[in-house]
């Protein structure tokens, strides 16, 4: 009788076995790395939480590991600036293309997805002369790395925003707003953006996660962001650098996990 039930049971077993095995595979080095960070210093062994205490107390951290603290601050600032530039650049452009220049959508999409074809390491090579000018015109401050980071997050942000724009009828919405006397700015700010909230949020979250994890460009241009500081610290104090790495991974996980709830609240019809 229960052949359906048997199939479902089989699927459930398969699911838990596969998910369990793969998750265990993923967890192994994390667990081992965690164990490494709580090992007590000194010959007699044992465990303590000193590394994590240092990490959680930003004051001490800034004192004992000034570069790391600077790196964390720099990365957070980079994340914010990157998100702002990305949104200011993409949201109006993509909305505008949908409203007025549907013929350009292919070109814009091509450009936005192009960074998938250009590895970060290649981008670094090509950006060298560009950044010579950035340093000359602006300054050598780390925050200008955001310009390059916007390019890195472009494909992901584009896809997130594109999905959001697909779900609403921008054209009708803005025609309605225009017919009621709204300016283009009002259309953008009061009509389009509120309807894109979820897409904007997920594009921003993705960008933050990517920026916090970025290493290649910062390292090769000799800027110190979180990842680079961690990398350099790894050579002198491996415990704290491993702990920072784990904390960063955990932080990114929390961001993405939270995002999965935000996104599904307004599921669009497929």
């Amino acid at each position: 009788m229960a052949q359906r039930a048997a199939l479902r049971r089989k699927q459930t077993t398969f699911r838990w076995v596969v998910v369990g095995l793969v998750m265990a595979f993923f967890a192994l080095p994390m667990v081992a790395a965690f164990e490494f960070t709580i090992r007590a210093r000194g010959a007699e062994g044992g465990y303590d939480a000193k590394t994590w205490q240092t990490l959680l107390d930003f004051g001490t951290l800034a004192e004992s590991y000034p570069d790391l603290a600077k790196g964390i601050v720099a990365s957070l600032l980079l994340a914010v600036v990157t998100v702002v530039i990305m949104l200011v650049l993409l949201v109006p452009t993509m909305t505008w293309v949908r409203l007025r220049l549907p013929g350009m959508s292919r070109l814009v999409e091509f450009i936005c997805l192009l960074p998938l074809t250009v590895p970060a390491i290649v981008l670094v090579v090509g950006l060298t002369p560009v950044y010579a000018w950035v340093i000359y015109l602006l300054s050598g401050a780390t925050v200008w790395l955001s310009f390059a980071y916007v390019i890195l997050v472009l494909p992901y942000a584009y896809r997130a925003l594109d999905a959001g724009l697909r779900a609403i009828d921008v054209k009708t919405l803005s025609e309605a707003a225009r017919s009621l006397g709204a300016s283009w700015f009002t259309v953008m700010w009061r009509v389009v953006l509120p309807n894109l909230r979820t897409a904007v949020l997920s594009a921003s979250f993705l960008s933050v996660a990517l920026v916090l994890g970025e290493f290649t460009i910062a390292n090769l241009f000799a800027y110190k962001n979180l990842q680079v500081a961690m990398y350099l610290l790894g050579k002198s104090d491996s415990k704290i650098s491993v702990a920072v790495g784990l904390a960063a991974l955990a932080f990114a996980f929390i961001i993405l996990f939270a995002m999965s709830f935000v996104g599904s609240r307004r599921e669009r019809k497929s």
């Binding site: 081992a32 007025r100 290649v122 002369p129 996660a209 994890g213």
Partner: protein, 309 residues
């Protein structure tokens, strides 16, 4: 750049110069509408198009800045060829391994309830590892398999002697293992939508027509999933091929992979004139990635045609 940045002059200035400024939607001259895209095009030109052109053009310039194939010829050096081969092998192996395991994981996750915690959890974990791993992942491995690492001890318990841990820093052993930690997750993220696109009606239709579970997989689900599977594997290949952070953090001696080779021409005391060799190497990477991505796009189009509503 100039022609992209400034809106093309309108062939027809339009009779509406004296009209009220507010117009109905769609009445603006095309050039006016195009002006809205100027910031985007200027930005991407400076930070994306120009760098790409720098690499492409630079690859065909000699040390003196004149057109030359010398830089490209430098790619024929055994050192670079070895790195290229190893890069391709590493990427291919981890792409295939990651694709197989990731596909299984994706199918397993797809059988879970749609908005359940399990799905959210696994997708988030994979999102982190796929996009964010890099240096942190490399460090986690060094801590686990380094001197006195926990996993070395555990491996000993099951009778595996991991020795000195040198293997962790070799491209065809440790690096391959570490790469799987972002390849499998990426596969899940890329492949899950395809698996979830399988409609229950297809299984049921196959069954009512007399098919077994095996028939369903061999004749229906398998062929439907093949294009997205191949496409995702290609994507994984380019992902591994482009990866730099993990390799840089793990490998401290030599440059066994192309990204490391590029980085070395870039950061160390460059012999004068070597910088265009770096561009040539970067160019070769772009070529490989572009070929694979073109293939991917072609396959993806085929696949999404089937998946249409």
């Amino acid at each position: 750049m100039a022609e992209l940045a400034s809106p093309a002059p309108s062939p027809d200035p339009g009779p509406g110069a004296g009209r009220p400024r507010r117009r109905a939607l769609g009445r603006l001259r095309p050039s006016g509408a195009l002006a809205g895209l100027v910031p985007f095009f200027v930005y991407t030109t400076i930070f994306l198009i120009i760098p790409t052109l720098v690499v492409v053009v630079g690859a065909f310039l000699g040390p003196d800045g004149r057109p030359s194939l010398g830089s490209l010829a430098a790619l024929g050096q055994p050192g670079f060829l070895k790195a290229l081969t190893q890069s391709i092998l590493l990427s291919a192996a981890t792409a295939i391994g990651g694709a197989v395991v990731g596909a299984l994981l994706a199918y397993a996750v797809s059988t879970a309830p749609k908005d359940g915690l399990l799905k959210r959890f696994v997708t988030s974990v994979c999102g982190v590892l796929a996009q964010f791993g890099g240096v942190a992942l490399a460090f986690a491995f060094m801590a686990s398999f380094g001197l006195g690492g926990l996993l070395v001890g555990w491996a000993k318990v099951v009778g595996l002697d991991l020795g000195s841990g040198i293997w962790l820093y070799q491209w065809d052993k440790g690096l391959m293992l570490v790469y799987l930690y972002f390849q499998i997750p990426l596969m899940l993220i890329v492949f899950l939508p395809a698996v979830e696109g399988l409609r229950p009606q297809w299984r049921e239709a196959s069954e009512t027509l007399g098919g077994t579970t095996w028939t369903y997989w061999r004749r229906v689900a398998g062929p439907i999933l093949m294009p997205p599977f191949v496409g995702a594997t290609l994507l994984l290949f380019t992902n591994a091929f482009s990866a730099y952070a993990t390799a840089a953090a793990l490998v401290s001696q030599g440059s066994p992979l192309v990204p490391l080779q590029i980085a070395s021409t870039f950061s160390s005391e460059v012999i004068l004139g070597q910088e265009n060799v770096g561009k040539a190497m970067a160019f070769s990477m772009v070529v490989v990635v572009a070929i694979v991505m073109a293939l991917y796009t072609w396959i993806d189009k085929r696949a999404s045609r089937w998946m249409q509503r």
